[in-house]
Amino acid sequence: MIELEGLSIDLPGFSLESLTLSVEEGEFFMVVGPSGAGKTLLLEAIAGLRPIAAGRIRIRGTDVTTLLPEKRKVALVYQDYALFPHMTVEENIRWGLHFSSDRDTRHVEGLVRLLKLESLLGRSPTTLSGGEQQRVALARALAVKPSLLLLDEPLSALDPRFREELQDYLGLINREGMTIVMVTHDFGEVLSLGHRVAVLHGGTLQQVGDVREVFREPVNRQVAEFVGMKNIFPATVKGGRALLEGGVSLVLEDCGEECRGFIGIRPEDVILDSSLPDGFANTFSGRVASIVPRGMAFEVVLQADGFQLTGRTLSSTILSRNIRIGQPCRACFSPEVIHVFEKSAIQNLTEVLQP
């Protein structure tokens, strides 16, 4: 569907460097990364709104690198909706039809019904709520029957109720065959909607893959941190063990090679219990350094001998397992939840001894 081949964009103070990836027909493809990673820039480049320094863009096999934005049949929806304030909702939705030979009014009426916009058609976009404005923006983009829909953080400015509603609409539109590339900085949205994901950081592509795969097996620290991996330590891996700084040794699934790199453990994979019995692999004792609320869950930091471990648990668990700040507590995690990344070969024996 879309193929980006060595795409580079140079802007003053920022550049997107040699990006190569492809999106399949009918796919819900997510682009994630922290602020300033170049996500919006990438969408605008696909839409033809940014000059490209190098590389090629193909849509359905056609090279569109030099094609004007209005010729690409690619619709873009911004986070701030970008509705035309001097037009009514209906005029906004029908705007693209002025320039199209296919003025399918039944299609537009269907969209209006699907996105529940019937009662808003005569109103000015400035009088609408965020959720309503986003639905109008979506209807306007879909009215021109694009071959590809680009969404730039469409959910981030919405309150939770509207966000869920819009997620449902987006899922529905995708299931009806629309290829969607969506930018977000929220990995929760990626897990809810995406088929595959690309992680950008500082203008370079860090990882592309199946959403679950990237979530479980990030290739480097940037991706690991972005997908919510909290316990990241430099380590030397050898013979089914990971040796951390300070002499801490962890049991892990044998990765089959001796190497240096980083290990990461997701906080939700850490089991916290003040009365955890012995006998489990990777069990540590320490004191609870902090308990910080994170949405519906709590993040508990355990200061163990030689290192700090972060776990995530529910409030009911905190109460039932007697986890309190300053009190002794135990934590464990199984060998299979330890993920090793940024592996590099060991050069000499000294490196093994000094991780």
């Binding site: 003053p12 605008e44 839409a47 033809g48 709104l49 004007l68 934005p69 209005e70 690409r72 690619v74 619709a75 873009l76 929806v77 911004y78 701030d80 970008a82 035309f84 304030p85 001097h86 705007w95 693209g96 002025h98 320039f99 199209s100 109103r123 000015s124 400035t126 009088t127 306007r140 983009a141 021109v144 694009p146 680009l150």
Partner: protein, 264 residues
């Protein structure tokens, strides 16, 4: 009255000095004017001719500025480039240059001995002591008032609106005329009013390049130099009335448009 409210009134009290400084001399001129002479001069051919000349030459200069200044302002609002600050400073030069100096510069550029002046003379258009000369002088001094206002107006239009329009199938020009221009309209109109007002009140630059045919400010100066204050004041009063009338009318038109847009 809350404390913060009192503080705001205190600020107004200090600032009102400037408002009074504008109103006081103008009101004094109206109060002290001999209205019999004002009435008599209002039917005088020279006075009416000068007033009308001021209005239309200023409008012509403003039209030319709008034609060339709108694309320039749009470009300045949308692009960052090396030398942009210099270009913006160049556009603002007419504000800083004394207007008599501006007049001399325009005269030198368009005198029959200069290439541009010779070209115009060959076309049968004399830039010196002509309506064309008045327009050229007005053009020079009024450019920054429109370009700056128009640039700020285009800054206020989100480029994302234009981007979205392009992806929906509109060409660059369609986006410019149907999205950017209507949304910047308020600022553009304000810039046109300021630019026209500057041109209609211009004296220093005009008097160098075209003392004749006389525009209203030149006539006021001429009457003041020849007959004194008593005979220059009536023309000044009429010019102020005409300018105020036009100003209020255009502002009302702009405000009316704004109200129309706000109705949901």
């Amino acid at each position: 009255m809350t404390k913060s409210f009192r503080e705001q009134w205190f600020m107004l009290l200090i600032g009102s000095f400037l408002v009074l400084y504008i109103i006081w001399p103008l009101a004094g001129m109206f109060l002290r004017a001999d209205w019999r002479i004002v009435a008599a001069s209002s039917v005088e051919k020279d006075v009416l001719g000068a007033l009308w000349r001021s209005i239309w030459t200023a409008a012509a200069a403003t039209g030319i500025i709008a034609l060339f200044g709108t694309p320039l302002a749009y470009f300045l609002a949308r692009r960052s480039f090396r030398g942009k600050a210099f270009l913006e400073a160049v556009i603002d030069v007419p504000i800083m240059v004394p207007h008599t100096v501006a007049g001399i510069a325009v005269l030198m550029a368009f005198s029959p001995k200069a290439p541009a002046g010779a070209f115009l003379v060959n076309l049968g258009l004399s830039p010196v002591n002509s309506h064309l000369g008045i327009i050229l002088a007005c053009l020079f001094v009024s450019i920054p008032f429109y370009v700056d206002a128009a640039r700020d107006a285009f800054y206020g239009v989100s480029p994302r609106l234009e981007n979205v329009s392009r992806t929906l199938g509109a060409s660059f020009l369609e986006v410019f005329f149907r999205i950017s221009l209507p949304l910047a309209k308020k600022g553009l109109l304000s810039g046109l009013i300021m630019s026209w007002a500057r041109a209609v009140s211009e004296f220093g630059a005009i008097v160098i390049i075209a003392y004749h045919p006389m525009v209203a400010p030149t006539l006021i100066y001429d009457r003041f130099a020849t007959f004194g204050l008593k005979y220059s004041t009536p023309v000044a009063v009429q010019l102020i009335l005409v300018c105020l009338g036009m100003f209020v009318l255009l502002r009302l038109l702009a405000a009316g448009k704004r109200k129309e847009e706000q109705v949901p």
